[in-house]
Amino acid sequence: MRVEALIKRRRNNLIFFAVLLAATLVSIIITEFEVTKAFTSIPRAIGWAVKSFYPNANSLEKIPKILVKLRETVLLSIASTTVAAIFAAFLALFGSKTTQINSFLAAVSRGIASIFRNIPVAAWALILLLSFGQSSLTGYFALFFATWGFLTRAFMETIDEVGSEGVEALKAVGASYFHIIFQAVIPSSLPQMISWVLFMVETNIRSSTLVGILTGTGIGFIFNLYYKSFQYNAASLVVVFIIISVLVIEYISNYVRRVIL
């Protein structure tokens, strides 16, 4: 019996890899992807980057301009994340199993959350471009909706994970719904929630670069501008600043997390 089970598992593994290999080959053929050319062009790409994609003395003059745009992007992602967090907190209270008022409202809020979450930021930006045009408001709302969806889901799970025991105890004591929210749910899930908000600020700084390219605002716009006008040195400087700002935010949020958790 045991030997048979082992043989069966091995056979399953073999089938799995065969299917994977077949899928890869089929996709290569369909897309006319040239494998050898792809790999030989990697050294060329690196060579190009070393030759032209680095900041030089001339591009340093652009720093003030870049910083203004960078500030816009960072503030935009912080603003959209924090406002989305407030809305997400309400929706999560309705949607969480522990704190839901009734199952209908819970289903509605979970539905809203999953729709917003599953539309990618770039798609939001393109949709909103139609109504708001190329302005930072478009970027703001694109980040806001996607963040709202994600944070609602994260908050719901946080409440269910850390809040349910305290909630049960307070129900047994005879506490009212609002007592339970303020005395058990918020104190026990707040640290985790703040941690999620910080995570989203980081993520949004990264995605707002892409959103900026689409909406013509912030650091994404300026990168796109330099890149398309062949000012590769300036464009590379923008990338450097994006990396630095993400690292700084990451460092700050790690520090805050250590203190509150």
């Binding site: 025991e165 047994a172 004591v173 005879g174 506490a175 007592h179 104190p187 707040l190 640290p191």
Partner: protein, 260 residues
Amino acid sequence: MNVLEVKNLTKKYGTETLALSDLNFSVKEGEFVSVIGQSGAGKSTLLRCINRMIDATEGEVIFAGVNMCKLDKKALRKQRRKIGMIFQHYNLVNQLTVIENVLHGRLGYKSTLAGVVGSYTNEEKRQAFEIIDMLGLTEQVYKRCDQLSGGQKQRVGIARALIQNPKLLLCDEPIASLDPNASKVIMDHLRNISTKLGITCLVNLHQVDVALKYADRIIGINKGKIVYDGPPDLTAEQIHMIYGSQAGELIIDIGGRNES
């Protein structure tokens, strides 16, 4: 006088699973009753049907002269204030301090606003400190609950229940997650509460020897039915009947008690 009367209590999950089937018993004031039985026999469900954390399918629970099953939300809240509950996993709000958790026991008496902002009267605070002192937690008063040991956490749980001024304590496996020393401390406190304060205790237990040692009366449950209800001097056969096992399958030491 009977504090609690349970009549024809039945709980079904779905249409098939019968968690409790036609339970009948009453508990006198100040009595210390221990409920024993296998995991899944329905002990937790029984306790939670009494304060309606779970709604019974049929039957009545009369507590302090009031039928719990017929109450609306507001009246239920009022009635729950008189029933303290103690949990296996303590169910404290770990991010808050000991005193904050203890004062949570007063929330049933609070208006919405007072409870939300956590404003308590001086009398309530005084009483909280008194109870904390009685349970030997004075040094921990301002510590966050996630810094406490299991035994200390359970004592906070007991304090939270006591400050409700309850008539009845429902204890769901209060020592199942504790080491033997802490278990003894907790059981001694519960016994004291019953004897000295005259508060009725209904305690679910896994440890038969502990149940026999502390309780005035044992209720044995098997597959949702009461199979034993009487004094704590069970024979080995009766214990095996409660646990539905064959003689020799259980690790139980009741020798000392039965021989004496």
